[in-house]
Symmetry: C2
Subunit: 224 residues, 2 copies
């Protein structure tokens, strides 16, 4: 599957950036943007670590992947670091996204879209239900699934977001792959199969909730 | 913050289970439940690895934390493994949850709640907007924030889910902490501060989306 391939694959070897690091970069970026809004000019790895609940040594190691841009005793230049991470994540271009599933979650993500960086844009929304087709979410009209391929081509859509019920998710994933998307973000609580060349990430909040519960439940326990 | 503390803290040392392992257990469980529904009786670490995009050696190591229950050449007994993981995650009891923010995402999560295991139950929904208060989401009535403390006590609510806009999230987190929840799952795209004794997990889908984009963008690139 995609994750395995990229781990050992050509691209990762060249860049030598582990998946764990890539997943931390958006977290750094989010906090740095907050600092920048508050006009904070420099930040130390200690401050980053404390705020983000990460080890400062880990942070320095992560950022060192991309060259040395922290200065001892002063820290990292916030604006410079933001620009560097945006560059690494290639956020200076706009990526077009299609969303399948115009339910509550689909609506929430579309609304959310307006607050996101200008580098991600939901260009089209799809649903299989006739009652949903033709309805509006903000400025978008919900389209039938048979328009998927055409709109993916037309808008150069590279990512598909799946917000349909679990039982329909694999079928939708197949259609997205068929339509030519390169990556899928799946919100359905089910594990999907996609071809090797398509990258899939899962955004299943029950996992977060279950692992959160684990820590609560052990509170006060003496041993396993 | 909570994560740092538990990593080095008393509980983690006793259990010797790393956070990474805890986060993988719900993934195993989800797939094992699927296998069980299809009446599959045993599964090898190779099969688990291939389907879940994880290293089989890693899976064996993870499961070995909890004792040896795979058999060479046969694999793991699906039903037994489900029971074992449920036990480890303490899913045989019901955890009560409060949700703050009755918008689209809040609605989606409440609907979703019905499909979840019986071990997590959203007991109350809150919103600050007068127009939302008194409306219904399934069988729940949206309550004003001033009822939070009372209902947390009344229903023994231990987890709070935050689905309010980013600017309100810290204020809501403070109120949840004040009301006595032990854990928070935050969906707002902002980093929240909570006291050490409260555990906070972030379910920010933009992070998944950004790290997904990273891999797409580098497709075909020769080097960093």
């Amino acid at each position: 599957m995609a994750r395995c391939r990229t781990k050992g694959g050509k691209r990762m070897k060249q860049m030598k950036i582990s998946e764990a690091v890539v997943r931390r970069l958006p977290i750094y970026l989010q906090f740095l943007n907050e600092l920048n809004k508050r006009e904070v000019q420099t930040v130390s790895s200690q401050d980053l670590g404390q705020r983000l609940d990460l080890n400062p040594a880990q942070i320095r190691k992560d950022l060192a992947y991309f060259g040395e841009f922290g200065r001892k005793g002063i820290g990292y230049d916030v604006v410079y670091l933001i620009e560097k991470i945006r560059q690494i994540l290639k956020l200076n271009q706009t990526l077009h996204v299609a969303l399948v599933g115009a339910g509550n979650l689909g609506h929430a993500l579309c609304n959310y879209n307006m607050y996101m960086n200008d580098n991600m844009k939901i260009m089209a929304v799809f649903d299989a239900l006739p009652s949903k087709i033709g309805t509006h979410i903000n400025s978008l009209t919900v389209r039938p699934m048979q328009d998927l391929k055409q709109l993916v081509d037309e808008h150069n859509i590279r990512i598909g977001i799946i917000t349909v019920p679990a039982v329909e998710a694999q079928n939708v994933a197949n259609q997205l792959v068929e339509a030519g998307v390169e990556g899928i973000l799946n919100f359905a609580p089910v594990i999907l199969k996609v071809p090797e060349e398509v990258r899939i990430h899962h955004a299943d909040f029950t996992r977060e909730l279950l692992s959160l519960a684990y820590y609560l439940d052990y509170e006060g326990e003496e041993s396993l």
